[in-house]
Amino acid sequence: MKIKTIFEIFKKEIRDILRDKKTLRMMVLVPLFLFPLIIIFMSYIFEALDSQSINNFNNIGINFETNEVVDSIVNELDINTTYANDEELELMLEDGEINAYITCDDNKYTIYYDEASIQSIHAYGLASTMLENYKIVLQDKILTEQNVNSNEVINVIQVSEVNVSKTNSYSSQIINMLPVFIIMAITLAATYPAIDVTAGEKERGTLETLLTFPIKNSELIIGKYLAVVASAVLSAIISFIATFGSFLIIQENLSIYATSKITLSLSSSISIILVLVVYSLFISGLTIAISSFSKSFKEAQNALTPVNFLPIIPMFIMMIGINSSYLISIVPYLNFSLAINDILNGNVNLIFMLLMFLSTIVYAGIMIFTIVKLYKQEKILFSRD
């Protein structure tokens, strides 16, 4: 295998990639603007949800006449009550005129709310507090009438609530998405060059030209692979700077990040970029291997569409609270996302990182070997004909 030939192929592919506007858009514009804009947009949406006024969820319907005690509690909790019958209340909740409603049948109270609506969930909390307070007043009255020290009975145990979460639930969701967005950007950035150097070359008829040269399949594939890796790494760096840069700026301006600010030291930045380089090695092999089977650019794009969604999977798995383990360190996608999260949280596990790196090298090696074998098959090379 000649390094000079590999370098010549690499140079040719890089020149070709950098002169293709469609590929450049995916490599530079998407990571530079799309994902940072999504982060900014989502942060503002979550900020608005988090800091919404009580007036957005304090409209509660009731089907019973209130007494002085209930009125006083309602005033104290700043609840707007609307009186109507059950059918009307149901329609009003559906139409969004009220956020929840309470029905009363003798001494049985029922709260109706819509779990799909955040405002309704907030209103349910208000309604529960209101009924709980009313229950305590009634219990106090009954016990006092029976000459029992109501305070001792009602407060036989004392319950207090302390929120121990250091992060806001909204901010945690966005922080978990940061690695996913960067990995998605790298995936998109690798996809186009990978298609261009394989199926694109086949479609344009230039692959046959390459095959006439005195170069080995392994030199050809490694040159192409390295060009796709270089594109992915370039995109990774742009994506890292744009995504974390926009996040670091926005976290200073929004209250949802007040308790969950992330800081990026030089060493953690370098560690994250190294993880992204390792991912670039993986995704470049995967995209080239898949697109090698396709006859045309369009066919390869269709074949690679599911790959573009793979980075989302770790986001859902991480929602169920999975932590880094040695087994997970060899599971592609999950390992990359967890590694970045660990670096952000300052919990870098060197063995996890090493296993992730080694397993990726093995996967990339298998993929390159497979592609070299594929390029010996005429049905793959001449499928255009």
């Binding site: 040719k12 070709d16 008829g205 030209t209 005195p214 090379l381």
Partner: protein, 252 residues
């Protein structure tokens, strides 16, 4: 010398009923192309010309039989053989996003030509083929004729001993075709060997030393154009071809 010995190439295709059918695109072809000779491979579409030339150029492997070039075969000396060959085909396209200069420099390096020598050869080739005035334009922006000249230039950069030209004039206008034909004649004068396929019989008749007529993967006649005309008692290679296959049937 290029020696083709009993070369066969089997393909499998799927018919309308989705049944797999195997067939021989090239079926037992043998011939020798001597040094300083232009050999024309002639035949209609589907005769097996492209497959045969791809096998000779080492792009495709034969199912059986052997191609040897200067007593070397592809199994053992593929890289060395490819250094002696230039393959130009109607199917082989050029990189549209690079310039003729960048293309030739890259090709020269693939053939391990020294950088100084590459520069010298590029200047000479560009002058001969009149490429100088668009040497730094992107190939994608060139006209068909200009692109064809760049294609020829690509073949010349490593000064090959053998040219394998597959339907190189197919689809070209009369001027662009003439550029290719002049190139073939010029290289023959320099002592090069050219194997040249076409379905334009008249074109081959004018420039080939020997022709091989192919039909359905097999050789149906071989010899000088004159010999074949005499044997078939016809006036042109076209008539000779139809005489050899027994006329045109509707199924053909």
């Amino acid at each position: 010398m290029i020696k083709v010995e009993n070369v066969k190439k089997q393909f499998i295709k799927t018919n309308n009923k989705k049944e797999k059918i195997s067939f021989y695109a090239v079926n037992g072809i043998s011939f020798t192309a001597n040094d300083n000779e232009i050999i024309g491979i002639l035949g209609p579409n589907g005769a097996g010309k492209t497959t045969l030339l791809r096998i000779i150029a080492g792009i495709m492997n034969a199912t059986s039989g052997e191609v040897s070039i200067d007593d070397m075969n592809y199994k053992e000396n593929a890289i060395e053989i490819k250094k002696r060959i230039a393959f130009l085909s109607g199917n082989t396209k050029l990189y549209e996003r690079i310039s003729p200069y960048e293309l030739l420099k890259m090709c020269g390096r693939f053939y391990e030509v020294d950088d100084k020598e590459i520069e010298k050869r590029i200047n000479k080739i560009f002058k001969i083929l009149d490429i100088d005035n668009f040497r730094n334009n992107r190939i994608g922006n060139l006209s068909t004729g200009q692109t064809q000249r760049v294609g020829i230039a690509r073949c010349l950069i490593h000064d090959p001993k053998y040219y394998i030209l597959d339907e190189a004039t197919s689809g070209l206008d009369i001027v662009s075709s003439q550029v290719i034909l002049n190139f073939i004649k010029g290289e023959k004068e320099k002592g090069k060997t050219i194997i040249y396929s076409t379905h334009y019989m008249e074109e081959a008749e004018n420039i080939c030393d020997r022709v091989i007529l192919m039909n359905k993967g097999k050789i149906i006649a071989v010899g000088t154009p004159e010999d074949i005309r005499k044997k078939t008692k016809t006036k042109t290679l076209r008539d000779a071809f139809f005489s050899l296959i027994g006329g045109v049937k509707s199924e053909d």
